[in-house]
């Protein structure tokens, strides 16, 4: 296990029940005038934070919800939302 995640519907569960859905990058950008670089930034680029990041997960083997949570990538542990998040 190691990782556990808190599903907003099912509560704290084994991390392997979930699918990772990427760093949180906000809603899909508007299509008009989107440059290749901006498109690529949204679709492919990551910050690769070594520390706490906001990210998407899906409770694949459970209720199926998509939700965001905060996780410390250097601990592989879910953490509380940091106070001064950017």
């Amino acid at each position: 296990m190691a990782l556990t995640l808190t599903c907003p519907v099912c509560g704290k569960r084994n991390g392997y029940e979930f699918r990772y859905g990427g760093e949180d990058k906000g809603p899909r950008p508007v299509e008009a005038g989107l440059t290749p670089a901006a498109w690529c930034d949204y679709v492919h680029m990551n910050k690769c934070t070594a520390g706490v990041q906001k990210e998407w997960w899906c409770h694949r083997d459970g209720c199926g919800s998509w939700f965001t949570t905060w996780r410390d990538t250097t601990q592989n542990l879910e953490v509380a939302k940091p106070e001064a998040s950017k």
């Binding site: 296990m1 519907v9 569960r13 409770h59 083997d61 459970g62």
Partner: protein, 213 residues
């Protein structure tokens, strides 16, 4: 000429002692040497509904309230309503007959979608712990309650109807119909050392009638 018969996704290797034809199903009522429990019963023929709506909490399928919080269940009149999430509930009709699907687009009949099994009796949860990490014996949980999670690696809906600290009690399990063979094989293998045997609908009825007092 081929008969129009329905087939369950689950086949036990032993033949039933008593059967009953119902809505083109051949329902096993009793097996030879069902033993002292725990038991595994195939409930494929019991009607299941999916209900989804933004206001699912305000709906009253079969005149029963949909429970408020995900994971909670209502169990009365042989009907079990399981709240799945903000917008969804599943409804299991455990009696001999089920009402027709209500005329509301939020309902889908999903009887055909899933394997439907009951595992109950002494040490039922000592079998479960060989197949899943889900904590059925959590003292904070009061039966009946719903878990949506993996059972033998397969995503399932599992409703605990009865439980005790000594591992006895029982639960209902649904998973994708295609897993029927694999799931039954896995459960019987895990349960063999604890005396798990296939049983018929009669034994299931006795159990749930006892639960509903």
């Amino acid at each position: 000429m081929t008969e129009i018969k329905r087939e369950s996704p689950v086949q036990f290797k032993v033949s039933p002692l008593k059967v009953e034809a119902r809505d083109n199903w051949t329902v096993a009522l009793e097996y030879d040497e069902e033993g002292q429990g725990p038991w595994l019963v195939d409930l494929a023929h019991k009607t299941r509904w999916d209900l989804q709506d933004r206001k699912v909490g305000e709906l009253t399928p079969c005149d029963l309230a949909v429970p408020e919080a995900p994971g909670e269940c209502t169990f009365a009149d042989n009907t079990l309503i399981n709240r799945m999430n903000r917008t969804q509930a599943s409804i299991f009709h455990l009696g001999a007959e089920a009402p027709g699907l209500p005329d509301f687009s939020g309902y889908t009949d999903v009887t055909e979608s899933t394997v439907f099994l009951a595992l109950f009796g002494p040490k039922a949860f000592f079998i479960a712990e060989k197949l899943t990490a889900l904590d059925f014996l959590d003292p904070a949980k009061k039966a009946p309650f719903l878990y949506q999670g993996p059972f033998c690696h397969v995503p399932c809906q599992i409703v605990t109807l009865e439980k005790a600290a000594d591992g006895s009690g029982g639960f209902l399990l649904t998973c994708s119909r295609g897993y029927g063979d694999s799931m039954v094989h896995a459960i019987l293998e895990a349960g063999s050392a604890l005396g798990l045997r296939p049983a018929g609908e009669n034994r299931f009825n006795t159990w749930i009638q006892g639960l509903q007092g």
